[in-house]
Symmetry: C2
Subunit: 191 residues, 2 copies
Amino acid sequence: MRMNPRRLSHAVGFDDAPFDLRHRGDVLVVGAVYAGARLDAVLSGTVRRDGANGTRVLAELVARSRFRGHLQLILLQGIALAGFNVVDIQALHRATGLPVVVVSRRRPDLNAIRRALLEHVAGGARKWKLIERAGPMEPIGHVYVQRAGLGEAEAEAMLERFAIHSVVPEPLRTAHLIAGGIVRGESTHRV
Amino acid sequence: MRMNPRRLSHAVGFDDAPFDLRHRGDVLVVGAVYAGARLDAVLSGTVRRDGANGTRVLAELVARSRFRGHLQLILLQGIALAGFNVVDIQALHRATGLPVVVVSRRRPDLNAIRRALLEHVAGGARKWKLIERAGPMEPIGHVYVQRAGLGEAEAEAMLERFAIHSVVPEPLRTAHLIAGGIVRGESTHRV
């Protein structure tokens, strides 16, 4: 029996802060919790640059949130945080019980990413596996997505619902503005 | 000749982050820049706890912003940042050329503030003068305001326009959620 598509309107969108190329160590990650068009909370934590703790940190931020019970969806601005801290979206989906959608404005150059990972990044083979396992970047509407735990129709309806001021879903647009504004003193506009 | 009330829809709202009672030194201040209902940018800086640099820091954040040319209004969550770093709203109005509105949910206990300033805070007499010069807290709608550079009718229309998800104007509600979320890891709900 096929279930009706869920109406996913309570979402947290995560983005990482910009950092200097020479920076080593931790990088700020910001989560913007939305109920429909309303910002309900802001979450923050840190992940290791080019590290492997992104999945765990995001799962913990969600688990600790007072809004945990309301959340229906996790949105990510790209599958990697803080350089090459690649998120295991299947594991994040399992750990939180929530569907996970990676959103990108452009189709990423997977060949270039694969080469960079395998040639320059510690543990790159494992990180590349996580990207491969997340599946192809599907064009939906005006963006590209990878998804875990929800169907294409649900993803499409969700993207339309959250395309409030941009094709980028509002929780991600806001998380991006916050992360940039806190680290740089003023956010840059485009995500 | 009386001018028509201006329609003030481009605003930055500033709030300070929570801090530990034992904390000395700088405290995060966050500005949320809105065009109508849309968050356009996030600004951030620091002010000294119980210090006197709040007015200058806010004026600089506004002056440096790429959105400076669009801004029509500055909103403050209370007249003091970081404890007793009292903002000179007349000076901020003159420095930026923008009207300034201090918004509070409750009528502050001015006697208690005066006592605390005069008895416990370095430079308290000067800070108290700034509060006095900012004028009485006027009840408008569901909040109390002090204002510099705009009339009561303009303030009332602006408060109504920005009462999107709360009686607290949206730029201040968002600045509060961001400041708390960045410093505490998760924002608290009420401002």
